[in-house]
């Protein structure tokens, strides 16, 4: 696959400068968060003022009910709850006071408290009502969901434009966004779908393209440290679980009789059959499970490494360590750009491979 035209772009230097600038932004936002933590901590005991990288890192990679922008500014996101008393919708800003501490909120149906991003129902005496909280289903638009919507809108905008360009510019050379999308679409078709699925590949192209671009755009948005990005969407196990569940369903629904006969009637002595059934049925589920863990762990690991490198500044409490830290963060961010593409590629590639084994014709 040729990417030379991307590097030879006229405004490549501008893009590089912007990328470097954005990386410095990550440091700045991080520093402001840290400052706000310190100012919060002044009132608290001295033990809490000590910087704990684990807490800070986990806070940055986890899902939240509000989207923190910088300092004391954050976007309130809608909270949607199915409770035993019915549907309840309100803004997440109701759950915090002006000092950003969690407070109880009475919606008229229930009293809620946001306990470490798990919303609980409070009983009349102010204690957490565990029984009612167990029947609380949280369908909120959290930070991850909002970031995913942004990715979906971006993908829709880009690809409706590309699709209409193919109609209006039929037979002409690609132009603009089209020249961005075309190499990747052809890459998915010629290097992923066709070699792995065979001649039946066309039916699966829309799904493979959707998976590829959805994961890739979400990975890239996760690498942007400021507002539209920054959410750890592909590093959320629920997100990867749903993607791999879709793969599981698609692969098994399209399995032909050879696929199922490999599972239930493999060429083994008859007394081995019960063991083979167990092994093969575990195999059906372990393949999408590995997809789920791979994407989740890779992206989360990347975020943790970048945040750890920034944390070094606050662990050593020294400005002298900052240039080293920034240099490593720059290096890791560039590496993560590669990983973002590679993980989208691997996920799509393995999906195509699994579909290929399910639809291939018998050849013994």
């Amino acid at each position: 696959m040729e990417f030379n035209h991307i590097i030879k772009l006229k405004n490549f230097t501008t893009t590089t400068l912007l990328a470097v600038f954005l990386i410095f932004c990550s440091i700045n936002t991080f520093a402001e968060v840290q400052l706000s933590h310190e100012s919060d901590g002044e009132a608290a005991s001295t033990a809490e003022e000590k910087f704990d990288p684990t807490v800070t890192i986990l806070e940055h990679i986890s899902d939240t009910h509000s989207w923190h922008l910088f300092g004391h500014t954050s976007i309130a996101l809608p909270v949607i709850l199915f409770t035993p008393n019915g549907l309840d919708i309100f803004l997440s800003s109701k759950l915090v006071n002006e000092h950003h501490q969690a407070v109880a909120y009475n919606s008229g149906k229930n009293t809620y408290l946001n306990e470490e991003e798990h919303i609980k129902i409070l009983a009349a005496d102010g204690e957490i009502d565990e029984e009612a909280s167990a029947h609380l289903y949280d369908f909120s638009i959290t930070k991850n969901v909002a970031a995913m919507f942004i990715a979906v809108i971006t993908i829709l905008l880009v690809f409706t434009k590309v699709a209409s360009a193919y109609k209006t510019r039929y037979g002409k050379a690609p132009k603009g966004l089209q020249s961005f999308a075309e190499p990747f679409i052809i890459f998915v078709r010629d290097d992923i779908a066709r070699p792995n699925i065979g001649y039946k590949y066309e039916k699966f192209m829309p799904m493979l393209l959707t998976i590829f671009f959805f994961i890739w755009f979400n990975n890239l948005l996760g690498l942007i440290p400021i507002f539209p990005g920054g959410a750890n969407v592909t590093g959320n196990i629920a997100f990867t679980l749903v993607l791999s569940a879709i793969v599981l369903i698609i692969v098994n629904l399209n399995g032909n009789k050879y696929y199922w006969s490999h599972i239930f009637k493999p060429d083994v002595p008859f007394w081995l059959l019960p063991i083979m059934w167990i092994v093969e049925i575990i195999g059906i589920f372990s393949k999408p499970f590995a997809l789920m863990i791979r994407l989740f762990a890779n992206i989360t690991a990347g975020h943790i490494i970048i945040l750890s490198l920034v944390s070094l500044i606050f662990i050593f409490k020294s400005l002298a360590i900052a240039p080293v830290s920034v240099a490593f963060v720059l290096f890791m961010s560039v590496l993560e750009l590669l990983v973002a593409f590679l993980q989208a590629f691997i996920f799509t590639m393995l999906t195509a491979l699994f579909i290929g084994t399910a639809v291939e014709d018998h050849h013994h």
Binding site: P195, A290, R294, A297, N298, I346, M349, L350
Partner: protein
């Protein structure tokens, strides 16, 4: 104590993945050197094999992470 043992577990998982991916990468290099025209096919197969090895190693790392944060 739990945290340090979990960290040792993560380290061991990484050793396994390192050996595995090292083997895959080395053999792929050899293959490409012998037959440069097959480079793109070898690369694809190499990435798939590396991803499968990495997946198993990441199981280890995730278990180590879970062991580190009993919550």
């Amino acid at each position: 104590m739990v945290g340090s043992i979990a960290a040792i577990g993560a380290g061991l998982a990484v050793i396994g993945a390192g050996i595995g991916i090292g083997q895959v990468g080395g053999k792929a290099m050899e293959g490409i050197a012998r037959q440069p025209e097959a480079a793109s096919k070898i690369q694809t197969a190499m990435i798939i094999a590396a991803a499968l090895i990495e997946g198993v190693a990441l199981f280890g790392v995730v278990v180590a992470l879970l062991g580190n944060n009993p919550a």
